[in-house]
């Protein structure tokens, strides 16, 4: 808690926003991994058992990283994971857009609007990516408390 108090207020807000977005994205997918696997397959990049692995593990990774962002001894790796995932999502949306796929984003489970707005998805993820990179820069200059606790 003391470590969080020392952070600038902007960083704390960004951390909470990123964590909130990733928790709200992860929970519906954890509730219904089969529907999320369908969304993954709809991008037509992977299928079969690989898509099932992604559908199974990715929501949990999102949840763990979201909570990790708020945990002093997990925040650096969580930030890096989140930035990597956001970059991946931007790439996937750009590819799907270029291929003209009319699919659900799958970002927050299946209960989303039916219209595919790739521009909005990419802009939203880019803004989140900028926030994540800012937090990574901030956190990488701090020593991880994990060095003491593990």
């Amino acid at each position: 808690m003391a470590a969080i108090k020392r952070l600038p207020i902007v960083a704390l807000i960004l951390r909470l926003v990123l964590a909130g977005v990733f928790v709200s994205a992860a929970l519906p997918k954890i509730q219904d991994p089969i529907a999320f696997t369908d969304s993954v397959i709809a991008y037509r990049v992977i299928d079969g058992s690989l898509a099932s692995w992604v559908g199974l593990a990715l929501p949990w990774l999102e949840l763990v990283c979201a909570l990790g962002l708020l945990t002093p001894w997990l925040r650096r790796a969580s930030g890096l994971w989140i930035a990597g995932l956001l970059a991946l999502f931007i790439g996937l949306h750009a590819v799907a857009w270029a291929r003209g796929l009319d699919i659900s984003c799958g970002c927050f489970g299946t209960k989303e609007g039916s219209e595919t707005s790739y521009g909005i998805y990419i802009a939203r993820n880019f803004a989140l990516l900028v926030a994540a990179v800012y937090l990574i820069r901030l956190d990488l200059f701090r020593k991880s408390p994990l060095r003491k606790t593990l």
Binding site: Q31, I34, S52, V64, L74
Partner: protein, 137 residues
């Protein structure tokens, strides 16, 4: 650097625990338990997301009883009329075509799919692994 690696390992371990929980509570199917695919086959889980044109190759009675929404009925007996309907639909919006019969033991879907590949060489044609039985919840 060592602490960062520990952080990554801890995140991986927590993710694995969560995934195991999803399998343990039967929310998700274990990826290693998915059935193996034969040539030209597609899993129901993959087929759901493709928005394909469905072709039901079972008997007329089985089709009348229940079928996948918007499926066309097509077997050896109704081949000619079924093919015209299918071509109409496919030419209107080209998309994958998936043929199914009753279960993993039937072969009608494979025969129909083979005939369709000759009739529509540009179409993406699959047979549903496990057939109608695999589509049922």
């Amino acid at each position: 650097m060592c602490a960062l690696v520990k952080e990554f390992l801890l995140i991986a371990a927590l993710t694995c625990v969560g995934a195991a929980l999803s399998i343990g509570t039967k929310r998700a199917q274990a990826p290693w338990a998915l059935p193996e695919l034969g040539p030209g086959e597609i899993l129901a889980i993959d087929a759901r997301s493709l928005d394909p044109i469905w072709v039901d190759a079972r008997s007329e009675e089985a089709f009348a009883e229940a079928h996948i929404a918007d499926a066309l009925h097509m077997n050896e007996a109704t081949w000619e009329t079924g093919l015209f309907d299918l071509m109409d639909r496919w030419l209107e919006t080209p998309r994958p075509i998936i043929v199914y019969c009753s279960d993993a033991g039937c072969s009608t879907s494979k025969k129909i799919a083979a005939q369709l590949r000759e009739a529509l060489p540009d179409a993406e044609i699959y047979t549903l692994n496990g057939g109608w039985a695999s589509w049922q919840p």
